[in-house]
Amino acid sequence: MALLQSGNVALLDQLRAVVRAGDLLTEPEDLIPYGFDGTAAMKHAATCVVTPRSVEEVAAIVKIAGAAGAPIVTRGSGTGLSGGSIPVEGGIVLCLVNMDEIIELDPANLTILCETGVITKAIDDAAHPHGLFYPPDPGSMKISTIGGNVANNSGGLRGLKYGVTRDYVMGMEVVLPSGEVVWLGSKCVKDVAGYSMKDLFVGSEGTLGIITKVLLKLVPRPKARRTLLASFDSMEAAARTVSQIIEKQIIPCTLEFLDRKTCGCVEDYAKVGLPTEAAAVVLMESDGPESVVEEEGNAMAAIAEANGAIKVEKAKDDAHATRLATARRTAFSALARIRPTTILEDVTVPRSRLVEIVSYVEEVGKKHRLEIATFGHFGDGNVHPTILTDETDKEEMERVEHALSDIFDKTIELGGTITGEHGVGLAKKPFLARQFSEASYQLLKQVKMALDPTGLLNPGKIFDLPENKTS
């Protein structure tokens, strides 16, 4: 507990002076629950947690930390899946959940301005009564903060049609490592004044600045949706269906798949009536005007049938649609209860290579004697190989490491990326250099060095700098 030793008692006193009573946590019972995020098998003890309520407090904390040389790890609700918000030795955990005000919804410009501790779902809930829509829907949207989404450029189920978090960020307020507060971007649809600095901070994982406000784009809310569930006896048949749907210029909002192993686990757990011989199940959803979704729904069903689907079910009403979506919604739950530890990956390949990566993952499971199931976003080429294991079994965890390494290598070979939506954090850090040329890997570090030369913010995440004093 470096921070709490000798001179650092003064640091705690300084922090205490800038935040309200109760917003600085130092007792072990308070700190232990901040030692992890949503990532499996990773933790590090926090030495203090501070929960500021204004940008002024954040700026003051950054200045105090900078003067004391104590690193800062920023976090929201701690649902991240790459270890990005795990505390660092002797560091301050800066938790933004108390900065949760929606400041302005502007229906004339279709924007919403909010503090970054606002829950993702609350943004869409606020947009709804105005007939507006905030599409990015990461799995944790009921509790994840928008700040965490922006810092990790989170995806979700609607990526194919609606894009990811970055596509909705128009502006932001950022506290720099110096403690200065800057505003980047604007409400303008077109804005090319200078570098697109806001884009540098999207997906920066808290290593460049602390995002305290964000201005987001909203879109008109789709009036109707059609849901279909199709089962196939091979992943290839499912893939052909998906390709032909997109060739027909239908862009569904959801195009999700489950592999054979996931189908089996889902059926055991939720009894949703998937055919036992199903090797791939695809959930398709089209949204938009009533007449369009009807037509697209019929077209997608016809394409699935033409490709030899074992079963195609079209939702008759909302309740039926919910039932059909159950197979995909329960996929993770069904897998997570099988073994004590569930490792969720998010490799992504060009859509046309999806079948190859899914069958490769199956092979890897056999090779390393591991239980691996895969589900994910077909339309985005974003797959979630899910390893079911036990972190207390050292020998098995070694095999997990080998399997991950194999999967990452194959992904890169296929022209893919080791992380599509979770971020690098700590979990992918050892593999990042493989995906980059030396020059492009160094460029990442140069950006970090330019903005945060002393390594104050989230040091040791994404990559290591030789200068990192604390990791």
């Binding site: 019972e29 995020d37 499996a40 609700s77 959940v97 108390n98 509790i143 994840s144 004590p340």
Partner: protein, 438 residues
């Protein structure tokens, strides 16, 4: 104060199968479901935070401290987290073992707390005759005018503060307890099933009429009802409050009262009891004399709504001139989260002629009763009660149906005269009665 020393070994969290602790993957999906996390936004007040603390204790990284003890008692035990959990963490088991560990280490010890625990857990709720005797005295206090006199005279100001605040919320004791209202064996004209009826403890004193109604609907549906005398508390109160030894003793006592082999089901109408009663095998797994019977027992315990739907209960016929009424349904935590029973009580309500069921916003949110939480944590309980009352008022319903005595009292106290709280089975019994009178 007896802070646990480093040498005090763990008794409950240490013995627990580690995989139960490990099953939590700290994804955070429980956070938006947890009333105490939503109140404070501090991780320690969340389910995954509490599990992290329990795990630290099991790992030897944290001692059983007063802070830990207070945290375990700040948890409502509403189990909303278990419904939200994608990984199927057995939170009830963790929570009961953690509280038992807290009690074993005595970290919350003070003489006043010790006295109340002794009076309630060791005496009143362990000795059926004593609970009934106290119930009878309370009834005399309430009906004799003494209660009125005490309230008017200002004598209450002599009582300790927390007793003074609780006195007006004291539930009204029934004139007759269950044994006086229900024969030990009652049979319908033709029997299709044989069931045992649990009368409970609080239910027996305050809602013996609900027990009678339960027996009535069972008889209407071809069930022969056996109701053993002087059953007493099932031990759920003990288990939820860190006294697993007494809870085990109560479980044995209750098992001894029923001839399980001759019964198709054991019926309970109190959600808090039901969610405990269905897990006797956990308590008795290392007792060779009881473990098999406990497993059979777990299988046979049914909530009354669950059982009625299972046997396809008879829908009462419409009667002439019956008035229509708007009702809403509050889901007791230990029914929806604890037992996964959500549609069946609604099926019962929808079967009642002239009753229009309107959905309650946040129907599955805890009302703050949570066993004795409203007594131990009145502030947080009060906030939840207010939220619940506001939701009920939005529906405009004149009846609120709910299937747990704690919720019943908590919501009725919050609503005052504006709406009436009732058990679904009481409404069904009434509808059957109306058929005969029309």
């Amino acid at each position: 104060m007896s802070e646990a020393g480093p040498l005090t070994p763990l008794k409950y969290l240490g013995d627990l199968d580690y995989s139960v602790l490990q099953q939590c993957m700290h994804c955070g999906m429980c956070l938006p479901a947890c009333p105490t996390y939503l109140e404070t936004k501090k991780e320690r007040n969340s389910p995954r935070g509490r599990i992290a603390l329990m795990r630290s204790i099991a790992d030897g990284d944290l001692k059983v401290t007063k802070e830990f003890g207070e945290e375990m008692y700040y948890c409502l035990g509403c189990l909303a987290c278990t419904t939200a959990c994608p990984a199927g963490v057995n939170y009830p088991q963790l929570f009961e073992n953690a509280r038992a560990e807290v009690e074993y280490h005595g970290v919350l010890f003070n003489p006043e707390r010790r006295f109340w625990r002794w009076l309630t857990l060791d005496q009143l709720f362990s000795k059926p005759w004593m609970l009934r005797a106290v119930g009878r005295l309370l009834w005399i206090y309430q009906v004799s005018g003494l209660c009125w006199l005490v309230r008017k005279s200002g004598l209450l100001w002599l009582a300790p503060k927390n007793l003074r605040e609780l006195e007006p919320t004291t539930p009204v004791i029934q004139r007759h307890f269950s044994d006086a209202l229900i024969e030990e064996r009652e049979a319908p004209a033709t029997s299709k099933y044989r069931v045992g009826l649990l009368t409970g403890c609080v239910q027996d004193l305050i809602f013996s009429n609900v027990n009678r109604a339960t027996a009535d609907v069972l008889l209407e549906n071809g069930c022969e009802v056996t109701t053993p005398r002087s059953q007493g508390c099932c031990g759920s109160l003990h288990a939820h409050n860190g006294d697993l030894d007494q809870a085990t003793e109560r479980a044995r006592a209750l098992l001894d009262r029923f001839d399980l082999a001759t019964l198709d089901a054991i019926i309970t109408n109190a959600a808090g009891c039901g969610s405990h009663l269905k897990h006797f095998s956990n308590l008795l797994k290392s007792d060779p004399d009881y473990s098999d019977r406990a497993t059979e027992w777990d299988r046979k315990v049914k909530d009354i709504s669950e059982w009625l739907v299972e046997i396809d209960f008879r829908k009462p016929e419409k009667t002439r001139g019956g008035e229509s009424v708007t009702a809403t349904y509050h889901e007791a935590c230990h029914l929806c989260h604890g037992q996964g029973i959500s549609s069946q009580p609604r099926d019962v309500l929808r079967a009642i002629p002239g009753l229009e069921l309107v959905e309650l916003e946040n129907a599955t949110h805890c009302c703050g009763s949570a066993g004795i939480y409203n007594i131990t944590q009145p502030e947080q309980a009060g906030k939840l009660q207010k939220e619940k009352v506001a939701c009920v008022q939005k529906t405009g319903a004149s009846l609120v149906a709910t299937a747990n005595p704690g919720c019943h009292l908590q919501i009725q106290n919050g609503l005052g005269e504006s709406a009436e709280v009732v058990h679904p089975v009481s409404l069904l019994a009434e509808a059957y009665r109306n058929e005969k009178h029309s």
